[in-house]
């Protein structure tokens, strides 16, 4: 065993590459491709498209008209050549052809406008509706779902997945056109001349077969390029966000080498993908060449023998130019469909998250006459089956009383707080607010009766005033100033560049922790609820701000029922009553003096001189010598 000095003195071999060092982290992508067709998901998607079905019908009709005009143009050319351009003809046939051509291109103009504009807008609308539906759902789903789910994942559903649905819708309508065009060309060629048609079309299956074999490895290479790209970008973003740490720990050289490696992998995978993307170009060109040569040799001889009109030959040559486009886009459409199914699956998952907590039909509205008492009656609750975090907890907080909840980390304080607001439903027993079981009250009125201050003061992007009146958007400017003054925030707000209209950066990044705390107090004060539930911040703040926060807390609690998860001894001692929780069980209750006299967990923790009961190391708690008091 090496001693401390040995370790301090030993030299590392810095010439070699550090073996474990990494830059950037990579989140495994969620399944990108699903089954190409899943009826359940298609039905789900269709429910979003259904409101626009008349518009969809219009655009499909427009697509059909557009495709038909495309098919018609070579036919008109053919007719003009064969019937209108014979030497010495009077030009009337040509005139008719030109008239037909004019009509066709006018239809083409209208149809091309209609198809793209209607389908483009519908797709945007569907995207909008889907995102709206998901957001609305997420406002109602139970918090246990939100606890389990990363915000980043949800965001990618709200953005990436929704976008691939939009792409799918747009290309779906277009691929109707592609299919029609493909069949149209086949039918027209066979109609013009069966033998020449068959010979010319012989190349088409070849391309299909080639695409069939090409697609899977090509898709893999595209995905690989996409992935190495996001890996390299992730490393770059990390380097920028953590630049101060990188510089202060002098990691630039190591990081550069690691980043260079990831970037180079990215370069290689992109070049590989480029090879896959381009390799089909000469194949398609060769097949086109073969078809053209066939028409020239076979068709040309038929023309020479007068078994084929010259115009037909020209028309064939025209069709060949457009021949492979639909096949190319249809095979691509297949991937879009697979991607859309995977996305649709994920979107449905969000839309189908059960709403665990709903208002009863006969739920009561807690009004201003509610007395503001809070009571727990034999409450048992947990997040996972058979692992209760609160066990048979009973207590009552009288109107106007301030109660401090204390106990080591994991004792169930935060869960109790969440239950008052009915973020979750209890397993057993009941939680009463103003004498009503919270399950009998409307969630909305519950929200307006209880103001909450969370440990981490979460502020929203927007101005200071918008944040303070977040809970009551109708609050007047005077109300806001009054609240800010009461909690001692007015002074620093006035020092901000634009006072109450100062824009807060993301989550209040331009304020100190103490200032954010005071703003969240002011926000709770404006809410003017009967009951205040507060989770005190644990981080120590400088003494000046600390003093201000303590004063603000007193203002906030005046005339309200207060439940405080207290970390500061000052707060605890000022409470009317202290509830001590351990392992989900309420073990002690009383004021400071009473509890000190009892000589239980509270007095032991208190005498250990910890600044707060929360950061007490696990191993220190058993020393308090308290078993489960049941």
């Amino acid at each position: 065993m090496a001693t401390a000095e040995d370790i301090e003195l030993e030299e590392e071999d810095r010439s070699r590459r550090p073996s474990k060092a990494v830059v950037g982290s990579h989140r495994e992508e969620e399944e990108v491709f699903g089954k190409a067709y899943d009826p359940r998901i298609v039905r789900r998607i269709w429910s979003f498209v259904d409101p626009y079905r008349s518009k969809i019908a219009i655009s499909v009709a427009a697509v059909l008209a557009f495709t038909l005009t495309q098919l018609a143009i070579p036919l008109i050319i053919r007719f003009a050549i064969d019937n209108g351009m014979a030497k010495g003809s009077d030009g009337s046939v040509l005139m008719w052809c030109m008239a037909a051509f004019g009509v066709v291109i006018l239809v083409n103009y209208g149809a091309s406008y209609l198809q793209e504009s209607v389908v483009g807008k519908v797709a945007e609308h569907v995207l909008f509706d889907m995102r709206r539906a998901m957001m609305a759902r997420l406002q109602k789903v139970s918090l246990s779902f939100m606890d389990k789910t990363e915000v980043g994942r949800l965001m990618s559903r709200l953005q990436g997945d929704v976008n691939s649905m939009q792409e799918f819708l747009e290309t779906s309508v277009m691929s109707v056109g592609d299919i029609v065009l493909l069949f149209g060309i086949v039918v027209t060629l066979l109609f013009l001349d069966v033998r020449l048609g068959l010979l010319t079309l012989a190349t088409m299956p070849t391309l299909l077969v080639i695409r069939f074999f090409w697609l899977p490895p090509a898709k893999r290479s595209f995905m690989a390029a996409h992935e190495t790209n996001s890996i390299a970008n992730g490393a770059l973003a990390e380097g920028i966000n953590g630049v101060r740490t990188v510089q202060s720990l002098n990691r630039q050289r190591v990081n550069f080498d690691l980043y260079a490696e990831k970037s180079h992998a990215n370069l290689r995978s992109h070049l590989r993908a480029a090879k896959f993307a381009q390799v089909t170009v000469p194949i398609v060109d060769t097949l086109t060449g073969i078809s053209m040569a066939t028409v020239v040799v076979v068709g040309g001889q038929m023309v020479l023998n007068h078994t084929l009109g010259l115009g037909v030959m020209v028309a064939f040559l025209f069709y060949i130019q457009r021949f492979f486009d639909p096949i190319r886009s249809l095979t691509m459409q297949y991937s879009v469909m697979q991607r859309a199914m995977a996305s649709g699956q994920r979107i449905s998952e969000v839309l189908d998250v059960p709403i665990a907590i709903t208002d009863r039909p006969d739920a009561v509205t807690l009004g201003p006459d509610m007395d503001g008492s809070v009571e727990f009656r034999h409450v048992t609750f947990g997040y996972r089956p058979n692992q209760p975090v609160l066990k048979d907890v009973s207590f009552k907080v009288n109107p106007g009383e301030t109660v401090a909840l204390v106990g080591p980390t994991g004792s169930g304080k935060t869960s109790s707080m969440a239950l008052i607001h009915r973020f979750y439903d209890v397993w057993q027993g009941e939680v009463l607010v103003g004498g009503h079981d919270v399950r009998d009250a409307t969630q909305d009125s519950l929200g307006h009766s209880i103001a909450m201050v969370l440990q981490e003061p979460f502020l929203f992007t927007g101005t200071v005033i918008e944040n303070i009146r977040y809970a009551r958007t109708g609050a007047s400017f005077e109300d806001v100033v009054q609240a800010a003054t009461a909690v001692g925030a007015h002074e620093f707000i006035m020092q901000l560049p634009e006072g109450y209209d100062t824009k807060l950066e993301q989550r209040g990044g331009n304020l100190s922790l103490g200032q954010r705390q005071l703003l969240s107090f002011a926000r709770a004060l404006v809410a003017d609820a009967k009951i205040l539930v507060l989770d005190e911040a644990t981080a120590s703040i400088d003494s000046y701000t600390e003093l201000q926060i303590q004063k603000a807390l007193a203002v906030l609690l005046k005339g309200r029922t207060g439940l405080v998860i207290a970390h500061r001894l000052a707060t605890i001692r000022n409470a009317d009553r202290i509830l001590v929780l351990q392992n989900g069980v309420l073990i002690e209750s009383g004021n400071h003096e009473q509890l000190m006299q009892q000589g239980g967990l509270y007095s032991k923790l208190y005498n250990m001189n910890y600044a707060s009961f929360d950061d007490i190391p696990e191993d220190a708690i058993p020393q308090a010598g308290v078993g489960t008091a049941t």
């Binding site: 052809c97 630039q252 550069f256 020209v314 607001h421 969630q443 001894l569």
Partner: protein, 616 residues
Amino acid sequence: MSTDRAGAKRRANAFSHVAKASWGKGVGTLWRITRLNLRHPWQVTACIVSTFIAATLQLFIPRLLGRAVDEAQGILGAGSAAAESALWSTAMLLLGLSIARGIFTLTQNYYSESVGHNAAYELRLATYEKLQQLSFSFHDRMHSGDLITLGILDIEGVRMFFATGLVRMVLLAVLIGVGAYLLLSTDLVLGLLSLSFVPFVGWRSSVVQLKLRATWLELQDRLTVMSRVMDENLGGIRVVRAFAAQEHELAKFDKASLSALELAHERVDLRVTSTSAMNFSFFLAMGLVLWFGGLKVTSGEITVGTLAAFLTFMTILQMPVRQLGLMVNSFARASTCGIRLFNLLDLELAVKDKPGAPEIKVSDGTLRFDHVSFRYPGTTRDVLKDVSFSAKRGETIAFVGPPGSGKSTLVHLIPRYYDVSSGAITIDGQNVAEVALDSLRRQVAVVQQDSFLFTTTIENNIAYGNPWAKEGRIERAAESAQLHNYVAGLPAGYGTIVGERGVSLSGGQRQRLTIARSLVLKPAVMVFDDSTAAIDAATEQRIRMAMRRYAEGRVTIIISHRLSSLMHADQILFIEDGRIVEGGSHLELLARGGRYRALYDLQVRPDTDAPAMAGE
């Protein structure tokens, strides 16, 4: 914290000077991108030559088709046997031409991608390195999100320039130039008619692409607003629920989402109106060619084959001409992206090595501040005024003072995160500004209050500053920082990933990890910048005991609001408004009855936090 706020103000218009682009600057930038591409001369040559050949080959296809049509009429050859063999040779030529065109298009496309990707790769490395080197004052000024955009999207814009700008320009020049020559020399009137759609479509598509680009940028802004609303709503879901603000939130979301939808619809209109107009103008030109050509065929002036050649020419020209707009767009995008990128790459480093700066040599390990004053670049207020003190190896110095008094700024000057405005900081008599930055930073470790944790294992995070550290050293550092027991209790131990995708650490645990991170280094000066704020007093004391071993060989500087964290220091310096106003040991300062005494009384007043202090 005051620096944060000052930074925010400066940040607001940080990009304004960067984003302004003059015409001359735009051209200069495009030339610079081109030079970057020319660093791969063979690939560029292969690409351009292939483009020429592929485009020229493509232009001959309509002629061959026309010839075949005429041969089929038997008007070129004498007998049917001769006509037949003519058809055969034309067909073979067509096939050969098609294959060759395909192959040259492949090399054209592949090498244009390759040149772009290689340039992007080099730019990525240069950008990454530059961003790592740029000093704190730069990063204070810039929004990290803007820098990430720059490193991702702007490089993308520059990458695309070669393929969608330069190569396409060559392609269009050949197709339109050679194509026009071939058409006009065959038949002037028909040639003019066939080309009549080119100016309109080219102009139209350029205008629309530029408009689409402008609205795209606007749309991105609106989408950013929307995604921020969603992100905050989901991240702050407890606040939303706590205040029953769901309706309010949905209204906020609707507003943001609707404004994006409206613009998206405008863009659809813009795009579709122009596409259908371009299609129409093309078909109109085609109709005119068919009509006049038809009349000419009737009168025997030209053959059907010539007419067919004209018509197929047009179909070949149609796509590239429509892409003229994309080319213009690529030029516009590359020049704005390039200007931003090159502005960054050309920035002078505010803090850098003097030429030939020697490595720092630490002997006694004495740190000295000699009349140091400092103001942040671009501001007029001195944050530090004439600060002098010194500390020997083994000594602990503590700084205390009201928020914004300049404590953090002071320690940031030692590893040269910023350079002093006047005065000097020396370690063993060597001015920190005169020695190699890399060697200096190895000797100074600053433990920040809120340090960045990387999404990787706990082990990698602790060893971040010294990835060569042996496991034993990492564990000892964790032990000293009172983190080992917690880590050892995790299922994956030191291999546990931290962050959103791994375990989430409490504020105290994060700070302990940050402390452990500094303990794997071997610096001459170790700074704890309010780095125990979230750690309770008792744990902190245990850390302090463990740290004694590390403190022996170096100068330790402590900044803290909590007096219990620093009352044991050899020297306590009270800072107010950038000046040292009091200095001495704990007992001396208490006896003096000045500001330190006042702060002490505030913290240990019996009705507030007295028990927390009693342990000292």
